[in-house]
């Protein structure tokens, strides 16, 4: 029903702050966006306040708070957008694999963009009615529709596009950028019409989910995975489970229950573990791949051996 305080993660932006001076932008936006509020308050005060009958002032005050909040949200969006245009002009955001190190320009600007967008998203996400998030997404050039419901989860705010009638489950995470070790991977995520994403599912960067597909609860996609139209996907990482017939008409009385839980588990396990990489390959290809693997492993082994030796030198 309502997302609990502890689980209600968002604003939809990573909190990484590469340089402390980025906070200046943040505070600047907060400051500029708050000034119209006080002017609005002045107007209200001038019109309604009377020292003889102060009660009128208080009766209409709750009605004033709603427009004041909306003013804050919209002015925050406008200021952030202006500054963001300037920042993007000096270095345009792009996809790719970057280093998580202050010397990498793309990583720095990624963090700067997130810091700038943080305040408008924070204000919009704190608003009890979710349509403000959609407005905010549209302002920052994320392709989305008002029919989407994305607010129970966590959604990245750039390099992402949604079709219509997408349902994002509670606590689901849709990413277009991910940090693994010293790498920052940014890749465009595309989600098409009528997609249902289960609760606690994770969509990794670069995923393309086709029309009317389902990603079941507690599943995760891999980077750059393509999910076909009209299929249900399950697993960690997710695999095809069965065709999605649930968009057909007249099934109200026919929808059933999985009774044998062990058989179901078998089915899940088959998906998760038993798909073999050798299927559909000739003997030669298999051998070539195996050889490559072996070489890679050997190289890796030697590397780790060297590293261990170095470490030993450190210790002694």
């Amino acid at each position: 029903m309502s997302i609990p305080n502890s689980m209600r993660v968002g604003p939809f932006l990573p909190t990484i702050l590469v340089k402390k001076r980025y906070l200046i932008f943040y505070i600047l936006i907060v400051w500029l966006s708050a000034i119209p509020l006080f002017i609005e308050f002045w107007v209200y005060y001038r019109f309604v306040w009377s020292s003889i009958r102060p009660i009128f002032f208080f009766i209409y005050l709750p009605l004033l708070l709603l427009p004041m909040y909306l003013t804050l949200a919209f002015s925050a969006m406008i200021w952030a957008k202006l500054i963001l245009i300037f920042v993007n002009w000096s270095h345009s955001p792009r996809e790719g694999v970057f280093l998580r190190h202050p010397s990498d320009k793309d990583y720095r600007y990624w963090s700067l963009r997130n810091t700038i967008k943080r305040w408008p998203f924070w204000v919009c996400h704190r608003f009890p009615f979710p349509f403000l998030d959609n407005v905010c997404f549209k302002v920052f050039n994320v392709k989305t529709k008002f029919s989407n419901s994305l607010f129970e989860g966590w959604v990245d705010t750039e390099f992402i596009s949604f079709g219509k009638d997408v349902v994002c489950g509670q606590g689901a995470i849709i990413q277009s950028s991910v940090i693994i070790g010293n790498l920052l991977i940014i890749k465009k995520t595309i989600i098409e019409d009528d997609v249902r994403i289960g609760s606690h599912a994770i969509v990794m960067p670069g995923t393309h989910i086709g029309n009317k597909s389902v990603l079941a609860a507690n599943s995760v996609t891999t980077v750059g995975q393509v999910l076909k139209d009209n299929w249900i996907y399950v697993g960690i990482p997710c695999k095809e489970f069965k065709r999605n017939w649930f968009f057909e008409d007249g099934l109200e009385d026919k929808l059933g229950v999985a009774e044998d839980i062990n058989a179901l588990l078998g089915k899940y396990e088959k998906i998760i573990t038993k798909v073999r990489w050798t299927e559909g390959l000739t003997l030669k290809e298999r051998k070539a791949i195996k050889r490559q693997q072996k070489e890679a492993e050997e190289r890796r082994w030697e590397l780790s051996k060297e590293r261990d030796e170095e470490n030993h030198e450190d210790v002694f």
Binding site: L183, V234, K242, A258
Partner: protein
């Protein structure tokens, strides 16, 4: 709970049933309220004082009482006080954060002195001082933690944890918002923790079971992906990279050294798989491993790198275009509904229940509700500040402050009362509307077409939206566990001994027994959207049920007495879980009987993930000396 999957074969030494004590552990709500009100009161005191001083002395005469709009911008005094106002608000906010941190630190130190937090299993079936102080400490941290991590300046939260002394967090480390990563952890430098990842230094096993409470070490340069669950007592060494949704058992040892881990429970994955999952090349992995060497090499080749980048850019834009066209078009064919098999149509997977359409027309309902509720508090505010309105006209400032000292000192409490008066107002008005709506259309269980103009679907959406606002307000209020009042009013069968405030939960068709514990971030759905259909079915939890963190409960689930479902599991539609059993997995399967109270408590099983082997260790049980005789301990070999 996760680790139980590996514990199928572990020995359970039974004690005769009569010996096992099963006391209900109660929370000390008196202390909770005392601590909360103190923290809350002190936090507003200084900040509120500064704000009102500025508001009444500077802002009021210079801006509000200026009669012409243009004069505000021409008069230097006016424009300065207008421009300074937002900065004063930010400053007051920071003051408030700092005072919360200071008060929490004082309380934390006091409880640490009385009963220091230490490693060990805290039995949950016997009342003890250790358990009491553990609960108290968890509670007092909650307000500050939520204020910092979910507030305007989440960058200060590392400082908060270090200052309070609940955990040690190194330099350059980023902890994203999460469900529980607050106490008893040490995190090294330059570590990144993704959204909703949980460093759980504590873990509850069953209502009459144990609290596993062990310190957790996380080394330098570790990555913990989104939604990872790290069990108590885990030791994650330098350079371990955990992919999203990888979770450890308790007492796992990860050797790190540039290794990648994935899965539930997690295991090491090798180069090929890593490259596959992350879409990386071998070069990228090399870069990741030898970052410093790479950077040094790169310093010399800056210009060359720029050129390369441009080339790469062109390449990538081409490749991404290719990627989008890959989806094969499934041809639209007429499908005979009769020909579909039972297996095709069985609901053996779980999705979500979020509403697909957000109607702006619902705002029309909210406006009167919010206004009526707001009326109550603004009249309260008017009565409260009646005496203070001539404040700025007084010539003697010190005299006027002294005169209004009671108004200033009771201000934080007045704010608290106002928040709850407002919520109560919203609750009552939305309940009235709800009764009215239910008279028009009775809510019922079943499978419905999820399309506008289907009355069942429309009214379900309307009910949900109506209830949402009150719950949203209550859960964002300073005392989120008060939400059981709203849940009860809106039709959940439950009492105040169960806690739902950390879970996402539907408010129709749910019955909850006594002392039910729902884990952090769990999702309990009595409605689910599958394709075109909306399924509504009652969820029943019997007494003493436990649901793990990040677990998804599908509609129609019935959980028996004393049963447990582990973390990151999910049930399917209409599942029935037997009483007294522990379930785990996706989909949940029975693991073993719930016998936490009868087990030995001093045995710790360390899991070395890299070598995939286990070792056993003996560890002292964390309970008062005089109660040690009640619990089962090994011979001490």
């Amino acid at each position: 709970m996760l680790e139980d999957s590996l514990e199928r074969g572990s020995k359970i030494e039974e004690i005769p049933k009569a010996e096992v004590i099963k006391e209900e552990i109660n929370m000390q709500f008196g202390w909770y309220i005392f601590i909360f009100i103190t923290i809350y009161y002190l936090s507003w005191l200084l900040a509120g004082f500064v704000f009102f001083l500025y508001f009444l002395i500077e802002f009021m005469p210079n801006v509000l009482q200026v009669s012409s709009f243009i004069t505000i911008f021409t008069e230097p005094k006016s424009i300065i006080s207008l421009l300074l106002m937002p900065l004063i608000v930010i400053a007051c906010y920071v003051i408030r954060l700092i005072s919360v941190a200071i008060t929490t630190r004082i309380f934390w130190r006091i409880t640490e002195r009385i009963s220091p937090s230490k490693d060990g299993v805290i039995p949950r079936n016997i009342r003890s001082k250790a358990a009491d102080y553990y609960h108290l400490r968890s509670f007092m941290l909650k307000y500050g933690k939520n204020l910092f991590t979910k507030g305007m300046f989440p960058w200060l939260s590392n400082w908060f944890f270090n200052f309070v002394g609940s955990s040690k967090i190194g330099k350059g480390t980023t902890l994203e918002e999460s469900v529980a990563s607050d106490k008893f952890i040490t995190v090294g430098n330059n570590t990144y923790m993704g959204v909703n990842a949980t460093l759980a230094s504590h873990l509850v096993q069953g209502i009459f079971g144990n609290i596993q409470y062990f310190r957790m070490h996380i080394g330098n340069n570790v990555t913990i992906g989104a939604m990872d669950q790290i069990g108590p007592g885990s030791d994650i060494m330098d350079g371990s990279y955990l992919l999203p949704l990888a979770s450890t058992n308790r007492h796992s040892v990860l050797k790190g050294g540039n290794n990648y881990y994935f899965g539930i429970p997690l295991r090491k994955i090798f180069m090929k798989k890593t490259m596959n999952y992350l879409g990386l090349t071998e070069e990228d992995l090399e870069k990741n491993e030898n970052l410093e060497a790479y950077l040094e090499r790169n310093k010399e080749k800056v210009t060359r790198k720029e050129k390369k980048r441009k080339k790469n850019n062109e390449m990538k834009s081409v490749s991404s275009e290719a990627n989008t066209t890959e989806i094969k078009e499934v041809q639209k064919e007429k499908i005979d509904v009769e020909s579909l098999t039972k297996e095709d149509l069985s609901i053996d997977f779980t999705t979500s229940s979020a509403i697909s359409r957000i109607n702006i027309k619902f705002l029309l309902v909210y406006v009167p509700i919010l206004w009526l509720a707001g009326l109550i508090i603004s009249i309260f505010w008017y009565e409260y500040t009646k005496g203070a309105w001539n404040f700025s006209n007084q010539t003697n400032l010190i005299y006027s402050i002294f005169k209004n000292i009671s108004t200033i000192l009771f201000l934080p409490l007045a704010i608290l009362i106002m928040i709850y008066l407002f919520i109560l107002g919203v609750l009552i008005f939305s309940k009235l509307l709800l009764i009215f709506i239910n008279l028009i259309h009775q809510p019922k269980e079943g499978i419905f077409l999820a399309e506008v103009r289907n009355p069942d679907y429309d009214f379900w959406m309307f009910r949900t939206e109506l209830k949402k606002i009150t719950l949203w307000l209550l859960r964002n209020s300073p005392v989120p566990w008060a939400d059981f009042i709203a849940l009860k009013w809106f039709g959940v069968n439950m009492d105040s001994s169960s806690h739902l405030y950390d879970a996402w939960c539907d408010v129709d068709f749910i019955s909850i027994g006594r002392k039910v514990l729902i884990g952090q971030g769990a999702t309990i759905m009595s409605s689910m959207v599958i394709g075109k259909y909306l399924i509504i079915k009652r969820v029943v939890f019997d007494d003493y049920v436990m649901v793990g963190g990040h677990t998804t409960i599908a509609p129609g689930t019935i959980m028996g007495h004393d049963s447990v479902i582990g973390a990151i599991s999910s049930t399917t539609y209409k599942r029935i879980l037997n009483p007294n059993y522990i379930y785990f997995g996706i989909p949940a399967i029975p693991l073993k009987e719930n016998k936490y109270a009868e087990e030995r408590r001093d045995l710790v099983v360390k899991r070395h993930v890299d070598e995939s082997k286990k070792t056993e260790e003996i560890h002292e049980v964390n309970i008062d000396e005089d109660k040690k005789k009640f619990i089962k301990i090994g011979d001490g070999k």
